[in-house]
């Protein structure tokens, strides 16, 4: 049987500032190279719920403030509840940077009221104040050990990327950290954690983008999507990832 996946890309015209479309390209190509049909479905302000809720993987990236406001309002009122339901069902998702903040309980700006989030993840984000530095630079982190067992055999246990965020994110008890920072700042620059995992959904501050240089994470999302969709454990075919790991190792 030929497998197929649909990848929901939330707000490609509003929330794709930092090369994050690379994540979507990588998901699509790594499916296609294994003979799995992969279709990218752009989900923007005008897209109906039904188009989103029938997708098999969800991706949402970073944005500028102005665009973030437009997307944020729509996400909170319309798309967020749909994505929450999908994540609860075990549909894999990747939320990067601004999207990672969006899916939490709230964002506390330096001045003014808390901005509510979609409450999909048990976490919150705080702006560090006008003296707080943005956390910028190359990052290396080691994946959470109880999560690594889900990866394809022989994969490295590190992830690499570039972070550029002002907000500090703190995880609640329902979340597991994705990784522990080896070099860089991660979620908040204090507790040493980077990213978060809930069911099959991942949040991360890593640009770079995340998936090209971390193909083990891409494959984990693809495998999870197939498992949920077809209700059986599907073993992914190995690909020649020598170039991917060369780029990965260069950053360590």
């Amino acid at each position: 049987m030929k497998h197929s996946l649909t990848i929901a890309w939330l707000y490609p015209d509003l929330m794709s500032t930092y090369g994050d479309r690379g994540n979507v390209i990588v998901l699509q190509k790594r499916c296609e190279w294994r003979g799995i049909d992969a279709k990218i479905v752009p989900i923007t302000l005008e897209t109906p719920h039904s188009t989103l809720s029938t997708c098999d993987v969800v991706f949402m990236g970073g944005a500028q403030d102005r665009q973030q406001k437009l997307a944020g309002e729509d996400f909170l009122k319309r798309k967020g509840p749909v994505v929450k339901e999908m994540v609860e069902k075990g549909i894999p998702a990747l939320f990067v940077c601004a999207a990672y903040q969006f899916v939490g309980h709230y964002y506390q700006p330096y001045q003014g009221e808390k901005i509510p989030g979609a409450g999909i993840f048990d976490l919150y984000t705080v702006h560090p104040g006008d003296q707080g530095k943005r956390l910028i630079g190359n990052v290396v982190a080691e994946l959470n050990s109880d999560w690594v067992t889900g990866l394809m055999g022989g994969s490295p246990i590190t992830i690499v990327g570039f972070e550029n965020h002002g907000g500090r994110t703190y995880l609640g008890s329902k979340m597991k950290p994705l990784a522990r920072v080896i070099r860089g700042y991660g979620n908040n620059g204090e507790d040493g954690y980077e990213g978060a995992v809930y069911k099959n959904a991942i949040g991360s501050y890593f640009h770079g983008p995340l998936l090209p240089k971390n193909p083990h994470i891409a494959d984990w999302l693809i495998a999870a999507a197939l498992n949920v969709k077809y209700g059986e454990k599907i073993i992914l075919e190995n690909l020649d990832d020598s170039l991917e790991w060369q780029a990965h190792n260069q950053m360590i």
């Binding site: 500032t17 910028i136 770079g208 780029a247």
Partner: protein, 466 residues
């Protein structure tokens, strides 16, 4: 001029001589840096000496080429010009260029100052020059995403510019006639249009070539009026498809490239303004260079320079370093295209493919002048290369990131048998190998980020800049 001014000029001049004598560098930033530290108002003291005025060129892409075009046309008219040709475009670079051209007493003997200005430095430069008595012309070319780790997001820059341009307007109202500050703005960039309106939002006398009865007398709009150039596929690297005024999605009759095009907003009725300058002779290939040329033409037209004279000067124009600069190497041609952000890279790709490029070398560095974050290469539409066969080599500090991008654009797979050869982090080897592939008489096109472009020049000419 006071004593501090003379001391500053003398010291800075001395530093410049020492730097050049001992070959410590180009002297493009340090003399200015020291001068500013000794005398923070040095730029205004210099600026007020120009006989005709000052022209500032700002925007993400095209500053260097546009500024050089303006300089070329003005000089052909017999004007003397001071210009920061080295591309050092922070305040210290502009002051260094001035120190280089003044005498030991800090006397500027020139008609015009033509300076390209870094996006972040525009407010500080505007502050220094806004009280001068002569003309001030500010060219606003475009705003694209560029080095997000260094500049922040496009909207952050736009906000800084807005505040700065607003201060110009209030200053203008109080102390001087309205005619002396002119804005030359890209009508096809919605964000630039909304910024330009900040300055000249009030009625004023119209100048020579503006439409009669026009309210925004101090703005000259340039843009393209050529629907045959509308893009079939929209670039991914788009920044402002939403109305800067009301936030609604903009409607485009067509995109020229990125978010540059013929736009309007159905909600608040904002739209691409009527064009004052839309055609010219174009000395360089590439749609982006049409915009650079139109901006330069718009500037000199406000100075009443005649079209025939402009065209004649443009015919003799040679591009600045690293911007379509051409070299001959053993009977083969090398053309360097500085490509430092998604929009610039997309435009370079489209231009070289239009020129029939077969041999390409891409160089990606991640040093401070390039931006440390290389994520942006995923916003470049490398997929256009899949349409044809090319010999592509990748090099630079982030060779493997770039190679990976090409792999996922599925253009590298037909080169698999010699893949390793074409992924060469050592730039000298990469340059040598890619040149070997080029037949005599044909051209190697090099697309490189800023520091990579300087390294390529150093390998080809022995010097980085000038």
């Amino acid at each position: 001029m006071n004593l501090l001014f003379y001391i500053t000029c003398f010291t800075a001049k001395l530093i410049e001589l020492v730097i050049k004598f001992f070959r410590l560098g180009a002297g493009a930033t340090w003399p200015g840096e020291v001068a500013i530290r000794l005398n923070p108002h040095i730029l205004s003291s210099f600026a007020s000496q120009f006989r005709k005025g000052i022209i500032l060129v700002a925007g993400t892409n095209g500053k260097t080429t546009t500024a050089l075009m303006i300089k070329t046309i003005l000089e052909a008219q017999g004007f003397s010009v001071v210009h920061n040709a080295s591309g050092a475009n922070l305040e210290n670079g502009i002051v260094s260029a001035l120190i280089n051209q003044t005498d030991w007493k800090g006397h500027v003997s020139a008609d015009w100052g033509v300076f390209e200005v870094d996006e972040n430095s525009l407010p500080i430069v505007i502050k220094s020059i806004k009280s001068i008595k002569s003309k001030v012309i500010i060219v606003l070319l475009n705003l694209f995403r560029d080095q997000l780790d260094r500049y922040g997001e496009v909207d952050v820059i736009a906000e800084k510019w807005q505040k700065s341009l607003q201060s110009l307007e209030s200053h203008d109202q109080k102390t001087r006639s309205k005619n002396e500050v002119k804005i030359i703005a890209n009508a096809d960039d919605p964000l630039i249009v909304s910024l330009s309106k900040v300055v000249a939002s009030k009625p004023g006398p119209s100048f020579a070539n503006a439409t009669a009865g026009r309210l925004e007398a101090n703005i000259t709009y340039f843009g393209l009026d050529d629907p045959s150039q509308f893009q079939k596929n929209v670039d991914h690297a788009m920044d402002s498809t939403f109305c800067p005024r009301c936030g609604a999605r903009l409607i485009y009759k067509g995109y020229y490239y990125s978010h540059i095009g013929v736009w309007r907003c159905e909600k608040c009725n904002a739209k691409r303004p009527a064009l004052d300058v839309w055609e010219s002779e174009y000395p360089l290939p590439g749609l982006y260079n049409r915009y650079n040329t139109l901006a330069a033409v718009a500037v000199v037209k406000t100075l009443d320079i005649k079209r025939a004279a402009i065209n004649q000067a443009l015919k003799k124009f040679t591009p600045p370093f690293g911007r379509q600069e051409e070299f001959d190497v053993d009977g083969k041609k090398v053309k360097i295209f500085l490509s430092k952000n998604p929009t610039g890279f997309n435009q370079s790709l489209r231009t070289v493919l239009g020129l029939g490029a077969k041999h390409l070398l891409f160089v990606l560095n991640d040093r401070i002048p390039d931006g440390r974050d290389v994520s942006w290469i995923w916003d470049v539409d490398f997929e256009v290369l899949a349409q044809d066969e090319h010999v592509i080599t990748v090099s630079g500090d982030r060779t493997y990131d770039l190679a990976l991008r090409l792999k996922y654009a599925e253009i590298i797979k037909n080169l698999n048998f010699k893949l390793q050869k074409f992924i060469e982090p050592d730039l000298q080897h990469a340059l040598k190998q890619s040149l070997e592939e080029v037949p005599i008489g044909e051209t190697l096109y090099i697309l490189a980020t800023y520091s990579a472009m300087l390294e390529v020049r150093k390998l080809l000419t022995g010097k980085k800049i000038l």
